[in-house]
């Protein structure tokens, strides 16, 4: 069954869309990731124009993270103050990212930029996850392994404008969290992702936040930045396709429920290795497309005019 997408102006098989949404939903349920970083490239592969894939992907992120953030707010595992600082950074980053996105679209380089950022970020994150999971496997086998120090103060934490983040037990300058927020906001706008996969490690290793508030606070930031970015894409370049989003969201929420059950039954470390390999293979496929001599050297873009 084909569905005609009124904004993308093409038809895509409805079951393919539900499958993409559902498959990524299963993974996000299993691993507790948003899945934006898989949805957007999968949409490229099935022929959705990159600009639409990015903007619609970010809309899907809102749906996949909203219930999580509500649950964490109820459990009070959100550092609201830190969340607000990260959010302010995220909104600034999103505006920068949207401006850059629209500029690159005019210059005809948006596909390249999106693909390059996917290769770089998925490559790095995949490699780090793989290494981390391997190390965890080793540690599990060796109970006497040394534990890492929780967090290290460096000069960036001592910049001016220090602020107390009670829930995280931190007294640091607002600039590091602001910068992290800006970086994630840019990624959300350019790559159509929530950015949790960057935000979580940054909060733990860079800001030194305790793990119990990291997930909730990152979901808080991601949900609002994704919502804001969706609005920005809708208003500045009309590239959000709600019909496409609807299919992805329905597939995604059902998949996530299944994934959560499956995830509970399987061993966490083996799963992490699998996810790392999956992330690396998506990055590899995109890198291959950039490096391999294309069958068609020419491409046609139709500028939108009114």
């Amino acid at each position: 069954m084909q569905v005609y997408l009124p904004i993308a102006e093409t038809s895509v098989n409805a079951f393919t869309l539900l499958g993409v949404g559902g498959g990524v939903g299963v993974l996000s349920g299993m691993f507790g990731v948003g899945g934006g970083f898989l949805i957007t490239p999968l949409l490229f592969f099935i022929g959705v124009p990159p600009a639409i894939a990015v903007a619609t992907g970010v809309n899907q992120v809102v749906a996949s993270s909203i219930s999580g953030v509500l649950a964490h707010l109820k459990r009070k595992t959100v550092d609201l103050r830190m969340g607000m600082v990260l959010l302010i950074g995220g909104l600034i980053g999103s505006i920068i990212g949207i401006w850059f996105f629209n500029l690159m679209q005019r210059l005809g380089q948006i596909d390249l930029i999106v693909q390059l950022s996917y290769v770089i970020f998925l490559g790095i994150i995949g490699a780090l996850m793989f290494q981390e999971a391997l190390r965890a496997l080793m540690r599990a086998k060796d109970p006497n392994a040394r534990r890492r120090k929780l967090h290290v103060h460096t000069w960036v934490h001592n910049l001016p404008l220090k602020m107390k983040f009670r829930a995280s037990g931190l007294y640091i300058s607002v600039f590091p969290p602001l910068a992290v927020g800006i970086g994630v906001g840019i990624l959300a706008a350019v790559m159509g992702v929530g950015g949790g996969f960057i935000l979580v490690p940054a909060m733990i290793y860079l800001l030194g936040m305790p793990t119990k508030v990291v997930i909730g606070t990152s979901l808080f930031q991601v949900t609002f930045v994704a919502a804001f970015t969706t609005m920005m894409h809708a208003v500045t370049n009309q590239s959000v396709d709600v019909l496409l989003a609807l299919f992805l969201i329905i597939g995604g929420v059902v998949g996530a429920q299944i994934g959560t059950r499956v995830g509970l039954k399987l061993g966490a470390e083996q799963l992490r290795i699998l996810l790392a390999l999956l992330v690396l293979s998506v990055a590899g496929k995109i890198a291959f497309d950039l490096l391999w001599t294309p069958a068609e050297l020419y491409s046609v873009t139709v500028p939108r005019q009114f």
Partner: protein, 252 residues
């Protein structure tokens, strides 16, 4: 049926010429609905003549359907620092978003270059490159690439021999509009050809429109983007939160 009645009426009122063409379409309206997968248009017609059939030349028919013209940018990739990047561009002032030509025989055999220029029948002549912005030394290669890419997508079609002409009087052909066509007025022209010259021409239109719901969404996205964005978010929140609430309810 309406088309056939119209056709008969045209027979009655047209002024006299040696040979005239009258034609109709199986549908003059295409609606882009949620399950639109493309549409096949049947173009049929007849040739009316007062004088006896000329014996010294053959009669040919060409049918061209042209979608709304739009500007386009054609990019060429080149390898820069190991990766393939769009480097050169050729702007096109107007290129039809859809273009199909069906004919009784290959166009180059039945149509003289002069007549082609006058009537702009072959796809190459329907594309207008932008003047003044030419910064590539081989613009023709870019235009050929545009035709090649759109042919592959089914947006440009050259259907040699696809028009079926019976006893030099009745003709018909089928042209498929693919699923990715855009909205607008599609111009259908039917040409009668003898010795490379156009001896008569008939023109009609197909109206391609998004269906009511799709139209509404599209207009909302472009005219009220803020409200459209809020709606997109409302859908995301409703389904994202609603689904987990539902599953929680089912489980307990």
């Amino acid at each position: 049926m309406r088309a056939l009645v119209l056709l008969l009426m045209l027979f009655a009122v047209l002024p006299l010429r040696a040979e005239e063409v009258v034609a109709g379409l199986s549908q003059d309206r295409v609606s882009l609905t949620v399950n639109f997968e493309g549409s096949e248009i049947l173009i049929f017609g007849a040739i009316r003549r007062e004088a006896p059939l000329p014996a010294d030349s053959t009669l040919d028919v060409a049918v061209a359907i042209e979608g709304p013209p739009m500007p386009a940018i054609i990019w060429r990739k080149a390898r820069r620092a190991g990766i393939w990047v769009n480097t050169e561009r050729q702007d096109v002032r107007a290129a039809p978003s859809f273009y199909a030509v069906a004919s009784t025989a290959p166009l180059r055999d039945i149509l003289s270059p002069e007549a082609d220029l006058t009537y702009r029948i072959s796809p190459r002549l329907a594309i207008f490159e932008a003047r003044g912005t030419v910064d590539v030394h081989d613009p023709a290669v870019f235009t050929e690439a545009l035709i090649r890419i759109r042919e592959r997508e089914g947006l440009y079609q050259q259907l040699d021999g696809a028009v079926n002409l019976q006893r030099d009087t009745l003709f018909s052909t089928r042209i498929t509009l693919p699923k990715q066509i855009v909205e607008g007025r599609y111009d259908a022209r039917i040409f009668l050809l003898r010795e490379g010259e156009v001896i008569d021409e008939f023109e009609t239109f197909i109206d391609v429109r998004k269906a009511v719901f799709e139209r509404w969404l599209f207009n909302l996205a472009y005219e009220q983007p803020f409200i459209y964005g809020l709606m997109a978010l409302a859908i995301a929140v409703f389904f994202g939160w609603g689904a987990s609430a539902l599953f929680r309810f089912v489980r307990s």
